[in-house]
Symmetry: C2
Subunit: 288 residues, 2 copies
């Protein structure tokens, strides 16, 4: 399980690591997850909207800070593209409410998983145009709320349904188009699972850093074979991604934020939360 | 199932369409497949090496031509990257023999699916270097044999095991590096399944045409949901790819070769070959 030799990368301390709650399969109430994550030694947590259902976001934010944790991000947007203008407006409005929740929670960013073709559609260019329009409608509100919109390019195997934004350069181009003056309020999520295959990744990460557009860094691993497109992500070290090498590139590009573990996995979701967290902690420190 | 409106694209005639034998699941002897494909009205066929096992390639080539068909390509290479130098040399030698078979068959191109990380590996850059070295060792032989090496970028979901070359620009860069003077003998396969998601596809196809590097054009469809990474490709029209739109781009880029159907699908492999061929024919003419 040796990762690449990146002597220049400082060892990872758990204080710099965050747990995305999806890693635990949303099996437990958020209050319990906060306690478990803090007890396991992590420095941050990234909740999902579903974790906050029926709760007060500000109260959950306080609870997170009282547990000694920071919020590394808030997941995730409602897909933007829609078959009708009415549905598109509803999607944007829903994301506006989520930005308010992110602000109440104290999250530095709201993760945008942008969606793709509406039912029956085949026009990726039109989906991309809707995504750009939808984000444009949210950007001022995000800025005023102190929450960055963190645009997450997803793996191309999700291009049909989950994200028409499939690469880091595409996400960076969208940032540039929506924020040409570099005022901020919009950046990107670099998730090794989605981007590790790209032959130009190192240079793109460097550019993302130069442009101040790295808002979050997510890790997990790519299993060979992968048996499910959505729910078979691997624990760091169990797959083929050079996670440590990519972390080195992200940090050389100036990123100083959390290393956030996000694993969608039927296997890990069936394990006790404490075991999953302990495994994450060990793999992060030893291998990432 | 309406595809995009591309009025400039001439209707597709079956004479310009080819069947990749993988579409029929290699369930029948090649002699029978040749008859079925010719009887269904197609103009071409693309056999796999496994179809020729125990046969004389030149004799199969004659049989194909006597049936009124052209060979649109020969599939496919042994993966190049290996954990040992000895295995790497064996992989290259095996591909050299396959080029001889392609020449005997009368195939215009030998499709390179290049492989990726050797067992236990995580170093994509090293895999890519092995691929470049392996192809370089074959190029003169391919030229002397009159068989182009058709480099097929695969979908990024195969980056761990099947292909470290995951996009058209990466394949074009490899062509340029190995054939900087544009002598030929190396080009690319544009398969809609592997490339449809790419936000820069239209421009990349244009460039591939300008550089004379479009060696083959493959079609099938991307199903939503896709339930298996390898064996759940869709019949044209059953998924979300704008096949007609991409065909228009490929032809506007100057490509005049076959439109080759290649579908890996447990579903279609379980159907009678005549039904599969009839469905392909109808969908190609009506939708592509």
């Amino acid at each position: 399980m040796a990762m690449s030799d990146t002597a220049s990368t400082a060892p990872l301390s758990l204080a710099r690591c965050s747990i995305n709650t999806a890693t635990l399969g949303h099996n437990l109430p958020i209050e319990e997850v906060i306690e478990l994550v803090a007890r396991a030694g992590f420095g941050g947590i990234a909740p999902w909207r579903r974790d906050l259902e029926g709760r007060d976001a500000a109260a959950i934010g306080r609870r997170i800070r009282e547990a000694g944790l920071d919020v590394s991000g808030y997941c995730r947007s409602t897909y933007f593209p829609a078959a009708t203008a009415e549905q598109f407006r509803a999607n944007v409005a829903d994301n506006r409410r989520a930005i308010d929740e992110a602000a109440a929670l104290g999250a530095p960013c709201f993760v945008l998983v942008v969606g793709s073709l509406p039912e029956g559609g085949r026009d990726l260019a039109s989906a991309r145009a809707q995504v750009a329009e939808g984000i444009a409608l949210l950007l001022d509100h995000a800025r005023a709320s102190g929450v960055a919109l963190a645009l997450e390019p997803l793996h191309p195997m999700y291009a049909g349904d989950r994200s028409c934004v499939t690469s880091l350069p595409e996400a960076l181009a969208l940032c540039e188009a929506l924020d040409p003056e570099g005022r901020g309020g919009i950046n990107t999520v670099i998730d090794v699972y989605h981007l590790w295959w790209d032959w130009r990744l190192a240079g793109d990460i460097r550019r993302a850093g130069e442009e101040g557009r790295i808002g979050a860094f997510h890790v997990c691993d790519w299993l060979v074979p992968t048996t499910d497109l959505l729910l078979d992500r691997g624990m760091m070290g169990d797959g083929v991604i050079d996670v440590r090498g990519i972390r080195a590139e992200v940090e050389q590009a100036g990123y100083r934020g959390f290393v956030e573990t996000e694993i969608f996995s039927r296997h890990w979701w069936s394990r006790p939360a404490a075991e999953v967290l302990e495994t994450c902690a060990r793999r992060l420190v030893e291998l990432c």
